[in-house]
């Protein structure tokens, strides 16, 4: 399974792999917001948690359709399905590779972007932690969505429509964690709920993803 993870990471960093696209998208969206809503620091600082979370969610969405589509097209997915790797493990490794190439860079870059939106100083640590815990769920849910739409021509848009509603709980509790942190309230409740969603996703979705892949490969 490590071989699969290493291959996916290597592919992401090679030419045409799309590494950094999500991060660049995140950067641009966040930079655009002050142009759109005006440069009032008070307003920006109030909406910063929500903007940062929505932007990272959209950035994570960008590269989802590549998770299985490329392997499906060149036949690797069929070959993986007949290999000794369990498809559940394949799903988990795919989600992990997606997180390492999008979620983790987003998490690391978000505090920097928070500065652009004059995020409250107390909120930085919560922004970082909430993204660190929340973005893996985005990758895992997205992997499930990618499995649902694999083999469908131009399935990217359908994938977004399927996956975005499933992102809502993570978004609500993630942004709430940061907002509460920024206002000096206790953010643990929202944070723990979000961590619970992430844990639940990783417990159930690899199996759902594998079952979906088996059906889609028929």
């Amino acid at each position: 399974m490590i071989a699969l993870l290493m291959r996916d990471l290597r592919l992401a960093f090679r030419a045409g792999g799309g590494f950094g696209l999500g991060l660049a998208f995140f950067l641009i969206v966040v930079v655009l917001v002050p142009f759109g809503v005006g440069p009032e620091t008070e307003l920006l600082s109030r909406i910063a948690p929500g903007i940062l979370w929505v932007a990272s969610l959209l950035a994570a969405l960008l590269s989802l359709d590549r998770i299985f589509a490329l392997d499906y097209e060149d036949g690797s997915l069929s070959l993986l399905a007949t290999s000794p790797l369990p498809l559940e493990g394949v799903a988990l490794m795919k989600a992990l590779a997606h997180w390492l190439t999008t979620g983790l860079p987003l998490t690391l870059a978000a505090p920097l972007m928070g500065f652009l939106l004059s995020l409250a100083p107390e909120a930085y640590v919560y922004l970082f932690v909430s993204l660190l815990i929340g973005t893996p769920a985005l990758s895992m849910i997205g992997t499930f969505g990618a499995a649902l739409t694999v083999g469908i021509r131009r399935g990217g848009l359908l994938l977004s429509l399927l996956v975005l509603p499933l992102y809502v709980p993570t978004l609500i509790f993630g942004a709430e964690t940061v907002r509460r942190g920024a206002e000096g309230l206790d953010p643990t409740g929202a944070g723990i709920l979000m961590a619970g969603i992430t844990a639940g996703c990783f417990a159930f979705l690899p199996f759902a993803t594998a079952a979906t892949l088996r059906i889609n490969l028929r």
Partner: protein, 204 residues
């Protein structure tokens, strides 16, 4: 080692073959024949476990099956060696050095997959079979886009390395591979078009 009994398989919900029965012993190959659309690919995918059979059973030693089709699963951004190394790692097998010579890939080791010609890609795809060390091979048109020389080379590998070591191969092909193997014509197993069509009549 491979037993297929009364197998029925469907493509897109429509039954294409039924009652397929054959045995393949250790060290033997079976060539599937039949016109386009008879269901050779469907049969091979069913045998490999990629799709469920609608009837009958397929038995072969667990975790010994490997499937190879028109799509080679080659990553265009990885080199030939990296591609093979990946499949070797996935199957927990070593990447033997002689595999490059066997499949005429020695000069291409560090070439990126995307720059290979169709025939070279095919050779790389077939080399995967030599790497993963599986005993029961389901090969769908393995010689497409290979030149005569490469076909001979592949047939030699199949006969002298794979089958000689007790392996099995079920091959769908339209050309003569030069293997001493029995042939199975699939035409008699064609499923009648209305084999499951009774369902519609209830609503008419």
């Amino acid at each position: 080692m491979l037993q297929v009994a009364d197998l029925g398989c469907a493509r897109g919900g429509v039954p294409v073959l039924k009652g397929v029965t054959f045995d393949v012993d250790q060290g033997q190959a079976l060539i599937l024949r039949g016109p386009n659309g008879i269901g050779k690919t469907t049969l091979l995918r069913t045998l490999a476990g990629l799709q469920p059979a609608i009837a009958g059973t397929v038995t072969f030693p667990e975790d010994e099956g490997a499937y190879a089709s028109h799509a080679d699963g080659i990553k265009t951004a990885l080199t030939v060696t990296e591609n093979l190394k990946f499949w070797a790692d996935v199957h927990g097998a070593p990447l033997a050095d002689d595999i490059f010579a066997t499949f005429d890939l020695s000069d291409l080791r560090d070439r990126v997959g995307g720059t290979l010609s169709a025939g070279q890609k095919r050779r790389l795809g077939l080399a995967r079979l030599g790497v993963i060390g599986r005993k029961v091979l389901f090969l769908d048109e393995p010689t497409v886009s290979l030149d005569a020389f490469s076909v001979k080379r592949f047939a030699d590998w199949l006969q002298n390395r794979h089958l000689a070591a007790g392996g099995i191969a079920v091959i769908a092909t339209h050309i003569d591979l030069g293997l001493a193997a029995p042939e199975l014509d699939l035409s008699p197993f064609k499923a009648a078009l209305d084999a499951s069509g009774g369902a519609d009549e209830a609503f008419l």
